[in-house]
Symmetry: C2
Subunit: 141 residues, 2 copies
DNA sequence: CTAAAATAGTTACCATAGATAACGATTATC
DNA sequence: GATAATCGTTATCTATGGTAACTATTTTAG
């Protein structure tokens, strides 16, 4: 399947640009959104969990979380292990999630125009498979 | 198709990391590779053409091309329009393309393990469709 | 049960990629 | 022929991310 990476990567910048524009209304960017999205879908989480999900180093997540704390979108909740910092969405965070979720879903739908349900389903299932193949290779090192 | 962007973006960093590692042997990165790939597949090209292809501003491409010139991978050829800078691969550039192309194709194959031919074909066709839907939206502004 | 190792998060510093604005050189258009 | 537009460049700025070194905890091994 020669050229699949190029096809994948040619999509990246147009998508990021559009998403950042959409999110800028709430002083957010796609990278901050990833954190919000993760917490919303996985419940209160630690920084290491988020870090692993996105294959990004801990200090990067520290920064993202600090910015979300400044924006009063997430807050720390006390946990058992005092090394860990468990964060969850604030009420304001939940509100912002809802609004942005709708906007992003609308964009997702528009971007999928002309693509059949079946093709969409295959994209949906295949992307995580590719990701997991890649992560497996990285672990081997 | 809620969540398709997240699935798409969760793949980005693992992929870029792996590609950069693979290319670092030749003092390249994925961003430089994009330029090499474009010229190889579209013939001698101007900076604006490359810029449009990847939705990246002109100064960014200027830098990439300068680095490729330093590495003696591309060179300028005289063109009719003296505003334009038409670049092509040097012999060395062709060699490096071949070696990297093989390595990347191998990686592409490994990453596609467990994914049927049909699914691969659909990915291959659908990614450009999504890209074109996104670009259409950007043009509207 | 304590000493050493591992883990979570943070800070400081640096690298990479990209954007915007302003400009010179050239070509196209009116 | 004067004005517009286009191509590439430079300078400056921002965003995102990495590495190394550190503190505070918790786990593990002897």
């Amino acid at each position: 399947m020669e050229g699949i990476f190029q096809r994948y990567l040619s999509l990246y910048r147009p998508l990021i640009t559009t998403l950042n524009e959409l999110l800028s209304t709430y002083e957010l960017s796609y990278s901050l959104w990833q954190v919000i999205f993760y917490i919303k879908n996985n419940g209160p989480s630690t920084l290491v969990e988020i870090s692993n999900q996105y294959d990004v180093e801990k200090p990067t997540i520290t920064r993202r979380v600090h910015r979300l704390e400044d924006l009063e979108i997430v807050e720390q909740i006390p946990g058992k292990d005092r090394r860990e910092k468990v964060i969850e969405l604030t009420e304001r965070g939940e509100e912002i999630y809802k609004v942005c979720r709708i906007k992003i879903t609308n964009l997702e739908n528009r971007v999928m125009e002309g693509i059949t349900d079946k093709e969409q389903r295959i994209m949906f299932q295949t992307l995580p498979k590719i990701r997991s193949n890649l992560m497996k290779r990285e672990e081997e090192k």
